[in-house]
Symmetry: C2
Subunit: 321 residues, 2 copies
Amino acid sequence: MIHTTLMKTLGIRHPVILAPMGGVSGGRLAAAVSNAGGLGLVGGGYGDPAWLDTELAIAAKAATQPWGVGLITWTANQQRVEQCLRYGPAAFMLSFGDPRPYARAIKAAGCALICQVQDLAGALLARDAGADIVVAQGTEAGGHGGLRSTFPLVPAVVDAVAPIPVAAAGGIADGRGLAAALMLGAQAALIGTRFYACSEALGSDEAKRRIAAGHGDETVRTRVFDIVRGYDWPAPYTGRALRNDFLQRWHEHEPELQTQAAALRDPFLSAAALGDCDTAMVWAGEAIDLIHDIPSAASLLASIVAQAESQIRQAHAALAL
Amino acid sequence: MIHTTLMKTLGIRHPVILAPMGGVSGGRLAAAVSNAGGLGLVGGGYGDPAWLDTELAIAAKAATQPWGVGLITWTANQQRVEQCLRYGPAAFMLSFGDPRPYARAIKAAGCALICQVQDLAGALLARDAGADIVVAQGTEAGGHGGLRSTFPLVPAVVDAVAPIPVAAAGGIADGRGLAAALMLGAQAALIGTRFYACSEALGSDEAKRRIAAGHGDETVRTRVFDIVRGYDWPAPYTGRALRNDFLQRWHEHEPELQTQAAALRDPFLSAAALGDCDTAMVWAGEAIDLIHDIPSAASLLASIVAQAESQIRQAHAALAL
């Protein structure tokens, strides 16, 4: 069994955190990850209050172990933070923006404050905000992210925010990745795309099928899906998605898309609601090369942890040869 | 002591390969890395024959252990490959382009063929070329590289080319990175920027000083320095460099730079020859956050290996708690 300080802080049995993927990490998936010994985080996305009420209630009811919630910081507000806190999460993650306006309310509620950062400057801001845990997220992550890569970012953040525990995010989809994250000085892995292709995840079956079949060479960071949906993400954040027809048409034609976005929005959202993955985005990280099935969250988590332990044992045994 | 099949293939005592950095990895640095138990590779860059003769002769004379050479594949030709082979390298690395035209001559000379790749498609090409070792290089690397990141690329390449041994490159500057690379399934780390800031490296003292002082947030992938020098690198390759005055002026103004490149070339090359790092590029990977000194190659290599072993031992000890 792997043991880290971060696990004690969160009261979890395995060093695995579910990324709070908007529209994907619902209450059922979050509770499944928590009940299997990790930390499940409901993905609050852009903060739709009705969706949050539904999914937070599911998580609160189904989880027998600590669970949490995550919001996109630049779209959050005090009202939304308080709505989430009413459901009694043990952990609250903020990502993409300055966490300081919400830190006091979160910590006053007894929640562990998890701040996800994409560069060293963000890590220092998280430390100043009083983060209990810092997540260093590399650009290889699916969905929104920044410019730095996981491999060099994690140890740099570990050194910069010590003794605050750090989790690694971006590019981790199996036990090899979890073991590597621990070697870099992280105390847990935050995993997104791999849990998207899980039976408990929200999102269409076709999206899950494409993740299980796709390759990392086919993912790209883009603003296309934010532009068409009318989300004004601040620089440097973009979303990593699998190439599909819509992306092929508009990627690197963003100025033209911007002029037509208003007219394209309703058809796009209708296609997305129908699960049309040729049009709607399938957020996916580069690590999809390692994803070949759509298991339950509990069996996935168990296999990731077992493989990580096996990698560590094998490396140690080889040292003694 | 770490043991891997790759080390047996190359006849080396430590799982560390010096990146063949053009103009930086000269014969003295390559021999120092090899004599310390790693594999030193002379960086052939754009294949200047006189420079190669000088540096290959130094390596051949100074190295008491296996050493090698690396060329940029798309600038190579049979004559240059044969020139290198005459100095008796034990290993020959090709990167950035199709290695197949040179594979036969290299392997016929008894050299281990090392192919560095930047994506999964390149890995399959390397396998078809008969590579003895495949290097999976992430975009966080200093100097030229591709789009994929080290963390998810390495295990994907390991799976794709098995049983060919894989080395990890990009973002590795200390023992944490070496240990993480091993967990991902790599059998060695190929390290560039960290060895640039070594006493035996060619390159100006000011460049080494900037690497030791710089931060990963300050590096960027760019075509600016290729355009001004007149090197027509094929897509998707760009060079990662530290931000400086020249880069600030021209990055994201590439079309304008293209029109002025002919006039700017001589002043640029003169500044570079004088070690003016406000103008000339300082290639640097994202891992420079982890670099704070300019040691000898031998002491650096020893400390990287010792830290990697320590990380593995600590993780194993924590399992048993």
